[in-house]
Symmetry: D3
Subunit: 133 residues, 6 copies
Amino acid sequence: METIMTSERYERGRQMLSQIDANQPRRLNESLKDIAPEFADLTVEFPFGDIYSRPGLDLKTRQICTVAALTALGNAAPQLKGHVGNALNVGWTPKEIVEVMMQMAVYAGFPAALNALFIAKEVFDERNLSAVD
Amino acid sequence: METIMTSERYERGRQMLSQIDANQPRRLNESLKDIAPEFADLTVEFPFGDIYSRPGLDLKTRQICTVAALTALGNAAPQLKGHVGNALNVGWTPKEIVEVMMQMAVYAGFPAALNALFIAKEVFDERNLSAVD
Amino acid sequence: METIMTSERYERGRQMLSQIDANQPRRLNESLKDIAPEFADLTVEFPFGDIYSRPGLDLKTRQICTVAALTALGNAAPQLKGHVGNALNVGWTPKEIVEVMMQMAVYAGFPAALNALFIAKEVFDERNLSAVD
Amino acid sequence: METIMTSERYERGRQMLSQIDANQPRRLNESLKDIAPEFADLTVEFPFGDIYSRPGLDLKTRQICTVAALTALGNAAPQLKGHVGNALNVGWTPKEIVEVMMQMAVYAGFPAALNALFIAKEVFDERNLSAVD
Amino acid sequence: METIMTSERYERGRQMLSQIDANQPRRLNESLKDIAPEFADLTVEFPFGDIYSRPGLDLKTRQICTVAALTALGNAAPQLKGHVGNALNVGWTPKEIVEVMMQMAVYAGFPAALNALFIAKEVFDERNLSAVD
Amino acid sequence: METIMTSERYERGRQMLSQIDANQPRRLNESLKDIAPEFADLTVEFPFGDIYSRPGLDLKTRQICTVAALTALGNAAPQLKGHVGNALNVGWTPKEIVEVMMQMAVYAGFPAALNALFIAKEVFDERNLSAVD
């Protein structure tokens, strides 16, 4: 029973992720398989199966809020990089992502904003995108 | 010259704030007049005159990103309370604000989300609003 | 189906909490019912149903680790207060809890340790316990 | 032997504190005597006996750096309040303390700066001091 | 007198460290000798001579609490790496360390937990250990 | 009008920076030109044009306060590195900078202090300076 239950939540999370970054479950499994394989499942289940899939807020808004929060927290570079990609995937432009990061200078200081901008630049470069006209 | 320049930035910030919370400049002046009156001006000028008034991102998105970031940071209760009010003022519903705060449990932990929800409740209560159907 | 699944995770979390603080689910429901009732469920399901109930680590160790982390983070006073109570409930002595908080001065600074100690004192006083011989 | 050693470090810390706030050891003892009396000693010994009493930096500079750091960290209100008083005691003016706090908006965001300013105002009010001409 | 005193505290810390990682005093001296040699002494004296050596809590519990706190803080990667090694040295298994890190997702968010897990993996790999059955 | 205004603030910031690190505006422009060129201007205007150039506190004190704050925050390594250089430029000695970083162990923990010291060492090495007699 347990197995089936878990896979239903996982399935809901996986489907949510298919709209954001369909390869993330596979990449999570790969990176965690030798250290904490079940945490790969939990990282699909709780954030995406329990939270992002809730009906009260659209995915695009959820995604930019995550970029804002990770920029402000300033200690989650790999995750911010992933979510900049996700934000592009759900329809935000490089320019809009840059605006959010600049805005975080107000709430978390200039270093947090600057370090996030350099992370965004890596993602934009990898996709041959530009935030500048 | 300086005075005129400053007041143009201030004026741009004040106009931006008139769409969010027209009383904030007055309240800032009041709360800071005995300690750092010029910081009241800077708090209008940089966040609102320099950042929020930039054309690359709409005000409604900016405001929810601020709620997300202050929820995640978890050490700015008075400012979060103000920005929950601002988010309502620019068109977010209580339910959407609650969704963003719940989402922050993923990135900043459950305590940050819970403490933000209790702050949101104070604002909704003051306005006789409900996040629950 | 969904409802049944959710309640199995919830049930596992509730049973785990019955060993820590059997009233927490009720208190969570009470405090969140007007703002985010489903977050009360998630706060039982993920932390306690998904994490604390995992077999790889005993409950007593989990509980002191939470006290250590909330002391170090320093911005979750209500949750730290709750978890000091939980730590007592699962068998830690006031003295041991105080030792962990003092230790956090090394990793998060003296203010974090001091503020945690004052929170612990509130809990010990409510229970007529003492950390001092 | 141990006792004597400890009291020499404690004594050095106590003498350092006599230049900053001679009553702090007594207040620390009072506030911690029922929860962690030995942490009162450690709070004199390490910060003041081991660090502040080092010869490589003058006390006045040390004290303003502490105000800057606690403002930026933003989660140590009681300690910041104490160190604003200390900063006044070693010769900083209310205006200079306010300048440092405003500056922290650059590195830790406006909420951190604003919350620190309101704490400073409490101290200045208690001493009938003003940061405004 | 001073020298002897210091060396007694240092000696107590060094003996405590001999149960955790006997090479740490030497490595600390090496890494700090060109920048802050006396801080190497203080890093033995206060954390290990003053805190870890206190009788009220066993070393094994102290060590897992440190892993929990550094995971939650999320901005001390080199120190977390060292303390994962220490936790292994005092008898925690890779699996237990992984459980604590996963648990921190509840209090500090998924990015903090994930980044800690990747650090733990480095340590386990260096020692040919596995957290997975 | 707007253009001229902005350039007056920018000019004031640039002149302030000429006393600290005359190349910073050029480096900021270079590093941000492909991602957020206007943020390079804002990073001169607000921190240096609006804040550092205020008359109430001398530049040397401002600079050491920034080193203290970035050490304590612990998540802004590139900016801390830059400001260690700035602190040297305005007259602080390597030894004094090291003292401030060591002091931050009291307020933000040993990991924050240690990681800052290793950053300082990089700067001192690049300039063939030593903090040790």
